[in-house]
Symmetry: C2
Subunit: 229 residues, 2 copies
């Protein structure tokens, strides 16, 4: 058997790790840290439980790794906040990036939410250091926009919290939103509509110069959200 035909050891390791992390995201999102079981994670990953413990010695090691990946993802998305100088494009892009993450990586958002709800036993240090630094810097930028008269005088922290809360709601409460949408997940078009709504409302709310007028849901979509006849 030619050597090239089988996966290298490194490849096997990488594949297994990926499978484990993917499965872990699912189980941690659905049951929280304490409620998750390594047996279930191993089963979904398609490996024996003992192998999981070979790759990640303890459940907490695995959990930390998952949380870490999520945190890095968020910090990257946050970069869109900085690419633009002016408030309207900066906030629009940031909100859009966060909404996109809620759509494409809802599990990460849900794990993060569970972790914070449980008192942030694992990430509290990161909150007090990395997240705090990130936040202070952006608060300063927002305050500068206020000083320049580009937006109305606002509570910068309140604004950030509102953006986080609103965008992550579409991941964390997706099940509730679906229940209110006749049991169906939001379609791409519906999601885009909510995204525009969020951006528009917040920009108008802070009195941003050049903010778009609020947009009503188009009739076609409105129908989807309405009760079935």
């Amino acid at each position: 058997m030619p050597r090239a035909a089988r996966r290298s050891k490194a490849q096997i390791r990488a594949d297994n790790e990926t499978a484990i992390l993917r499965a872990a995201e699912e189980v941690f999102a659905n049951h929280g840290f304490k409620g998750a079981s390594t047996g279930q994670i191993a089963e979904i990953a398609g490996i024996p439980k003992a192998n999981l413990h070979y790759y990640f010695p303890t459940k907490e090691d695995l959990y930390r790794r998952v949380i870490d990946d999520i945190f890095n993802l968020w910090m990257e998305a946050a970069a869109s906040f900085d690419r633009q100088e002016d408030p309207v494009p900066a906030l629009s892009e940031y909100i859009r990036a966060k909404m996109h993450l809620s759509r494409t990586r809802p599990l990460g958002s849900r794990i993060w939410a569970s972790e914070i709800i449980s008192g942030a036993p694992v990430v509290y240090d990161a909150l007090e250091t990395t997240l705090k630094d990130w936040t202070e810097t952006r608060v300063a930028r927002i305050d500068k926009w206020v000083d320049k008269g580009l937006i109305a005088p606002v509570n910068a922290r309140g604004l950030l919290y509102m953006i986080w809360a609103t965008t992550q709601h579409y991941a964390d409460f997706a099940r509730q939103i679906a229940a209110l949408n006749n049991g169906r997940e939001l379609s791409e078009d519906q999601f885009e509509e909510f995204t525009r709504f969020v951006i528009g409302l917040i920009l108008r709310g802070i009195g941003a110069v050049g903010a778009p007028e609020p947009v009503a849901m188009p009739d076609a979509l409105r129908q989807i959200g309405a009760p079935a006849e």
Copy 2:
């Protein structure tokens, strides 16, 4: 020993039930349904574990009761939405009521969030019936405000989701907010300031007639939120 001196059986039952429910809220909020243990709940309630199972035969029975109480509480808070005819007082009072609940009953909010994040295994029926009905009615009211020109044309569902997300964030993510507030819980004054900010931003965002101008955080409070020197 005079009979009046001891608690009646009914009183004992009521007291024990209250103690159990209070303890259950704490443990379910911190660990989710699967992660919570009846042993810990009994310990906090100050009774033997067997007694807990006498009052609530299974862990799920207890959990359903806790969730039920929370849901009713929320429906009552929602009533403030209806006491006022016009959008500004109706939404102001509703947002304020929700913020107040986040402040006074954060555990309930956190349990609700955990339940939805986990896929709403227990409350899904209530979402599709009671919550859906409540929502449809309020969407209709909001649409009517739009028709009357009292607010700009908005996505009514998006508006409700934003109110829920933003207000509940102050309960569910209280630990994160505290970490960004130099490790201290928000003071009453700070919380009031955020409440006003949320109300002001949303009312302005929907172009409500008579909405207050956005308010900056007073310097005194701003200092508290700033990095320690």
